[in-house]
């Protein structure tokens, strides 16, 4: 019987969960592929009978990029309300309750499918990244319940013997043709632009705890354009150290393959598309450098594959226990809490590694995902600028945890070429440039506001009548982490932007942006009430957005419903990141 698994995934987690459900579906005797919504012709949905959806929610309640087109189609008003009456479905959402629009993409999809007459066979599952067990806290139980329901209604039975379901076939090429390495720097569907790195400087003081980078990118052609609020998507690469550690590990276990092994990967199922990264032969050296995320948090799937050939009973049992519902707590404290990297896990399971095959390796390695950064300059400026905080922190692990992308960017040398794509962010701006903008961007949250301010000042120079620009910035110390200090000073000196800066640690009492908002409450309320000002909040998703919202409520005579109204009218927008 056909069972189709469709996913909308941004960071790869939803894809991972979907593929796990697909593998399990084989155990239950189902056929049919697992596909991203962009690889599936959504117009066929009317002919499907049984579909499982796994859908992530990104940013401000948005559906993932690879679901956008299909979602637009499903929203067509002309679709008759009973046209999906032949479809039974189940929907699992992956979200994060630290964002206000928790799991909106899955909730909307679920409702829309019901609207179109489809029947839900399972309650909508809502995974929450804030759960101590992450998405697994919900997804494991939900999936078990799904099979339970299906086995009751369809009289399907689980095979006793577990079958190994492979995605890829891997073939070693003895005499390899010359390999194209350039293509591996960008293996995404969307076309990339080529930029040249013109500057890469640390904006924080040398003795400051955090390294924040300003990267200036030169366009290869003038035709590259962007809007304020847009983001730049980049595809990071593993550090030389990690790549070396990886091959040292292979060497230590005297495996049959090494950095120079060249392979050709093909899909093991005719209806399962091959990732672009595998579309041509590649060496393991290239895979380890450009394609596999060696510092990713290892997922259950990796442990399951690692256990397949392991002859050491103790390691094997431990790996499989980590994959079970009972072993979840142990898995979380072994992997999630210390932020253990994939490579570190492989180093720990020595017996399993000693028996690793090439096929297992390709099956278990997650692909590097792209990262997006708010563009910090307007296209009227010479360069495309990024402001990037370098992620480096301690856990119980003896080596510091380094963010893959920010550390890769940090080490890029001036003059190198960089492939990247420009994508729209979540912010929308008022149509009239006279409308006042109130912008709150502490830390690297200032990035998108530098872009819109440059844009508005450029329009002003062209003779347009630009409304008031009010910006609130916050950092620890004036002398340590005051990003774009020259810009702020120039704007203030020219009286073209109203600048408020909170230096939290330059005096005894901590002063944050929310304190300054309260101080200027009457002024801000006037801009909002009388001149229809738009408010934008960007930066860390911890306590700041909530504290800022409360400060505005206080400024608006404690009228919380007024802020709700502004949010609804998109006159109060938040773009926050963890």
């Amino acid at each position: 019987m056909r069972l189709l698994v469709l996913y909308g995934s941004q960071t790869g987690t939803a894809q991972d969960v979907a593929e796990q459900i697909w593998r399990e579906s084989r155990q239950w005797g189902f056929q049919g592929p697992v596909l991203s919504l962009e690889d599936y012709d959504i117009q066929q949905l009317v002919e499907e009978r049984l579909v499982i959806f796994v859908v992530a929610t990104t940013g401000d309640g948005m559906e993932p990029d690879n679901m956008k087109q299909a979602w637009r189609f499903l929203l067509k008003r002309s679709l008759p309300s009973h046209s999906l009456s032949g479809l039974q479905f189940a929907c699992l959402g992956l979200g994060d309750s630290s964002y206000s629009k928790f799991n909106y993409a899955a909730k909307k999809l679920h409702k829309r499918l019901l609207n179109l007459g489809a029947k839900s066979i399972c309650p909508l599952g809502l995974c929450d990244d804030q759960h101590d067990y992450g998405h697994l806290g919900t997804s494991l139980a939900w999936t078990a319940e799904l099979w339970n329901t299906l086995s009751n209604t369809l009289a399907v039975h689980k095979q006793k013997e577990p079958t190994i379901v492979k995605r890829w076939n891997v073939r070693v090429i003895e005499q390899s043709p010359p390999l194209d390495e350039d293509r591996l720097q960008w293996t995404q569907r969307q076309e990339a632009h080529v930029f040249k790195l013109a500057e890469n400087t640390r904006t924080t003081a040398a003795d400051h705890f955090q390294d924040v980078r300003l990267l200036r990118l030169e366009r290869s052609t003038e035709a590259i354009s962007w809007q304020p609020g847009d983001v730049l998507e980049v595809q990071p690469q593993n550090s030389c150290e990690l790549v070396k550690d990886f091959f040292d590990l292979l060497k230590e276990h005297q495996l049959q393959f090494d950095a120079s092994t060249v392979v050709e990967v093909s899909s093991a199922h005719e209806d399962l598309p091959l990732p672009l990264a595998y579309s041509k032969p590649l060496s393991l050296q290239q895979a380890a450098k450009y394609i596999w995320d060696l510092s990713a948090r290892p997922r259950q799937r990796l442990l399951e594959v690692l256990a397949q050939n392991c002859e050491d009973e103790m390691e094997r049992e431990k790996l499989l226990e980590f994959c079970s519902a009972e072993g979840l707590e142990d898995l979380i404290s072994y992997v999630n809490r210390p932020r253990r990297m994939l490579l570190e896990l492989l180093q720990d399971f020595r017996h399993a590694m000693a028996k690793l095959t090439l096929s297992q390796l390709f099956e278990m390695m997650p692909l590097i995902q792209t990262r997006s950064f708010s563009i910090a300059s307007d296209q009227s400026a010479k360069t495309l600028d990024l402001l990037v905080a370098v992620v480096n922190y301690k856990t119980i692990m003896h080596t510091p945890r380094l963010g893959l992308c920010s550390n890769w960017l940090k080490d890029l040398e001036v003059g190198v070429e960089l492939r990247a794509a420009i994508k729209p962010g979540t912010m929308t701006w008022p149509k009239e440039v006279q409308t006042p903008l109130i912008m709150i961007g502490p830390g690297t949250g200032i990035a998108p506001f530098r872009s819109i301010i440059q844009n508005r000042l450029h329009l002003q120079q062209l003779g347009q009548n630009v409304g008031p620009l009010v910006v609130f910035f916050g950092c620890r110390n004036r002398s340590k982490d005051y990003h774009f200090v020259e810009d702020f000073t120039a704007w203030q000196d020219n009286n073209c932007v109203e600048v408020h800066v909170a230096f939290s640690r330059d005096q005894e009492n901590k002063v944050y942006v929310q304190h300054l908002i309260k101080q200027h409450g009457a002024h801000l309320a006037k801009l909002i009430r009388e001149q229809n000002a738009y408010i934008y909040v960007a930066g860390s998703s911890n306590n700041m957005p909530k504290a800022v919202r409360e400060a505005f409520i206080e400024a608006l005579d404690n009228d919380a419903s007024y802020i709700d109204l502004l949010i609804k009218q998109r006159r109060y927008q938040e773009e926050t990141w963890a």
């Binding site: 929203l75 008759p80 046209s83 101590d132 979380i332 020595r350």
Partner: protein
């Protein structure tokens, strides 16, 4: 239903669950053979083997495109019997004929239709393309992106906008079960075994479990080597100086 006497295996496809057992019993008595039962809405999900039945009876049948499936499920020369059907008989008869059945006949007085599978295995039969598709399918096949969309925000009501209760997201890591390593030498295995027998907690804490070299996955929660990789054979492991100092 006397005409079906002697048929060994029948399938009864029902719509109305009221007094279903009586109707099934009646069919059993009429045929004298076995009767399987299936709900009409589950039919498309069922996975009966080809050539399984001598007779398929459907109550309240409507115009669907499932008759090809029924054809496959029938043995050669197997019978299809519709009663209390809905809609004009002519349309149903046409659909049944187009699906590959022969000898289709209507008993207007009894409001029944009967048809027969040809006396040979049909192999792969294809639905004739001039059989009509439902109009709602066609709308799905129209492309073009200039169409009006519904307001997706209106899909959600207040309840959908609720966030989970933070209390439900916390899991206590200290109540996790104590578990002995597989080759336990520290006594925990025996201890747990004793606890199982006597249900009395013992006080004897043991150290030097001998598992430190295996890595964090096998180490105790108080192990001084936590955070360090598994040791390689013959490797001499030393804790860094700062680790030996007290945190306080």
């Amino acid at each position: 239903m006397e005409q079906f006497k002697g048929l060994q295996k029948s399938l009864y496809i029902w719509t109305d669950s009221g007094e279903l057992d009586k109707r099934v019993q009646a069919l059993k008595e009429a045929t004298g053979g076995e009767v399987a039962v299936e709900n009409v809405h589950r039919l498309s999900f069922s996975s009966y083997a080809n050539s399984s039945f001598d007779l398929i009876v459907i109550e309240c049948a409507q115009l669907t495109d499932n008759y090809v499936k029924l054809l496959h499920m029938l043995k050669p020369s197997g019978k299809l019997h519709l009663f209390a059907y809905i809609g004009p008989a002519a349309n149903l008869l046409q659909e049944i004929k187009l699906s590959g059945f022969i000898n289709c006949s209507e008993d207007a007085a009894a409001n029944t239709l009967t048809a027969e599978k040809p006396g040979y295995e049909t192999g792969s039969s294809a639905r004739l393309s001039f059989a009509k598709k439902s109009p709602s399918m066609n709308v799905w096949k129209i492309s073009g992106d200039d169409e009006e969309l519904i307001d997706e925000e209106e899909l959600l009501d207040e309840e959908d906008k609720q966030k989970p209760d933070p209390a439900g997201l916390r899991v206590c890591s200290t109540t996790g079960k104590r578990k002995a390593c597989k080759n336990c030498s520290c006594g925990l295995a025996e201890e747990l075994e004793d606890e199982k027998k006597t249900k009395a907690a013992t006080e004897n804490a043991k150290s030097s479990c001998g598992n430190c070299y295996l890595g964090d996955a096998f180490r105790c929660s108080t192990c001084p080597y936590l955070g360090m990789p598994a040791f390689k054979p013959g490797e001499k492991v030393q804790l860094a100086d700062n680790l030996l100092k007290s945190d306080i």
